[in-house]
Symmetry: C2
């Protein structure tokens, strides 16, 4: 079938649908809620490149891979980067955040709601945003691995800018990536004294296409936007809160199974991230051999650790469409078998029984 | 079907295919030949953001919409912009280019091989690149509307960087966009004293993913890369020179038909662009009413003029899969009818006869 053009009247209706459905998924009324024409990192760069002006102080976290990426993007936008520290695999402590905010008084504070590299969820988001707003900072939240899978309330939690990707909890092919900006964030962008350093991602210019005018800025990735609409429609059909509950229930069974089998989760329950389960690699086991076995023998792709956690954790996605009881039981069986064949001792049957219990309890 | 992951061994093979096929279509041996993770403007920005360093003088043309975009991107990269002039709808004069190069001695010279906004092809490319290299400038060519449709020889013509889009002569959904860089261009990027202002489009960082290492930089738009591979496979199956010849023959029939009908082409034959045919709007005719009729009554999308040429031309694509005799005959009939109903006098039958003659001659 020929594609519809990106300025075709029929496509403009699809754009309206996508914007409405994105607002629903983000739990926001933000007018500036759009799909960015690229994968999640493009939406991330759209957030930093637009919001950060040369000379702005930008506070970023050190507790995972994506905090470093924030740093790199903020620097390239001309920002002066300062950090708030926490170890990889743990969330930020609100007291540390507040102290860093008071000390540095940044223009922008970025944090990662769901750290894909470590499986840590950031609790206490409203406490962090309140502390940031107290010093006049705007808050950027990385919600790549939370949007559509984990409780996220952009407006209620007073997040100024949030971005995400398609291929995590929305179960959508990557290529058009959610971004939402508050009026306050958009005002900072509109009042910039120098243009955004990226033309492609300039939110002020994108206004002409995604705002009322619907005039040409750049060619949109048509088929990715169709796909995103369909993915978001499925979110709306299920209901966003029901979807969060499903992730808690199904990934909860995964966590219970992992523990009952005799393996350890990296996160404590207070910052366990249902959509990305970090499981410690048992002593003496070659993590790569396990992930190769899962892919080669079962067609299941899990990831290893990055940075400080390389070789130390398995990262097991439980996201969107794939977050289902049958996948959890398959994974537990395959993972148990693989770590045993690589020399660990685990009780697969106990793991499956515990997962079954957890699934039938709710 | 579940998507393959962007780091899956099976996908790495697909990446190799895409790079090999892109080299074929660009007529280059450039190692740095990749699809950029965004639409054509992302590939364009990748070219300018990487190649232009703060303080570099950048020479850009004024003869169409995309020269202005080059200017905007070069400025955002920190470049000092100077211009070489030609009216909208005409190519650059090599003497003017040489004079501008000698006067400004830029680090980078950008030109548009096929101006989508005006339907003008830039002839004499090897003359322009030789003049640029004489003053030590690297040359960026916008080949958005030429790659896969119009003769383009990156290596033979000594173009340093060329970028394109999927949705023009490759007939591919937009979202992964061709970019090729010579070793000389890559060396300038590698030796930058400051990082590229875009993290997402940083060619130096992309080396880790598209080079031998194949390690994570950002999530690639998987399904767009599949689509691009398929589009490029069709180019290779047809043969690139055969494809150029088809565009000349079929669009030549369109041009003959337009003229025989009594309408005028904007370009002279020396800079006629087969893939994008600019036809003058007859005196007194409302161009928008005509494009609306074509879309509403025939499902044919043509575009109007931009900038200096708004309301003055129709822009009729004849690209890739759509560049076929039946489409030319349909378009001529529908366009003739529509301009007549909007008050012009044309001879549709004569147009069709001339198109038929042109098609049967070759």
């Amino acid at each position: 079938m020929p594609l519809i053009g990106h300025l075709d009247p029929a496509f403009l209706e699809i754009m309206n649908d996508v914007q409405r459905l994105l607002r629903y998924a983000f739990r926001t009324e933000n007018r500036w809620t759009i799909p960015v024409s690229g994968t999640g990192s493009a939406a991330m760069e759209a957030a930093f490149a637009n919001l950060v002006e040369p000379g702005d102080t930008v506070l970023v976290p050190t507790n995972g891979y994506f905090g470093s990426r924030m740093e790199s993007m903020a620097r390239r936008a001309g920002g002066e980067v300062v950090q708030v520290h926490a170890p990889w695999g743990r969330p930020l402590d609100p007291d540390d955040v507040e102290a860093a905010l008071q000390k540095h008084r940044p223009a922008v504070f970025g944090f990662v709601h769901a750290e894909t590299s470590t499986g840590a969820l950031q609790p206490d988001v409203p406490v962090l945003t309140a502390a940031a707003h107290d010093v006049g900072a705007l808050v950027i939240a990385d919600t790549v691995t939370s949007l559509g899978g984990v409780e996220l309330r952009v407006d209620e939690w007073n997040i100024d800018v949030a971005y995400s990707g398609g291929q995590k909890c929305l179960s959508c092919p990557p290529g058009a990536s959610p971004l939402t900006l508050s009026d306050g964030a958009f005002a900072k962008i509109r009042d910039r004294s120098q243009p955004t350093r990226s033309w492609y991602l300039d939110v002020g210019l994108l206004e002409s296409y995604w705002g009322e005018e619907r005039s040409y800025h750049h060619t949109a990735p048509i088929s990715n936007i169709y796909a995103l609409r369909e993915a978001l429609r499925l979110v709306a059909e299920e209901g966003i809160e029901e979807r969060w509950a499903r992730h808690l229930r199904v990934a909860g069974a995964l966590k219970a199974g992992v523990r009952a089998m005799g393996l350890e989760m990296l996160p404590e329950d207070a910052w366990w991230l249902p959509s990305l389960n970090a499981v410690r690699v048992p002593e003496g086991v070659d993590a790569k051999a396990v992930t190769r076995r899962l892919l080669g023998e079962h067609g299941i792709e899990i990831a290893g650790g990055l940075g400080d956690l390389a070789g130390k954790i398995f990262r097991i996605g439980c996201m969107g469409h794939a977050c289902r009881p049958r996948n959890v039981l398959l994974l537990l069986t395959a993972l148990g078998e693989a770590v045993q064949r690589e020399g660990a001792t685990v009780d697969v049957a106990a793991g499956l029984a515990a997962a079954g219990d957890a699934l039938s309890r709710d």
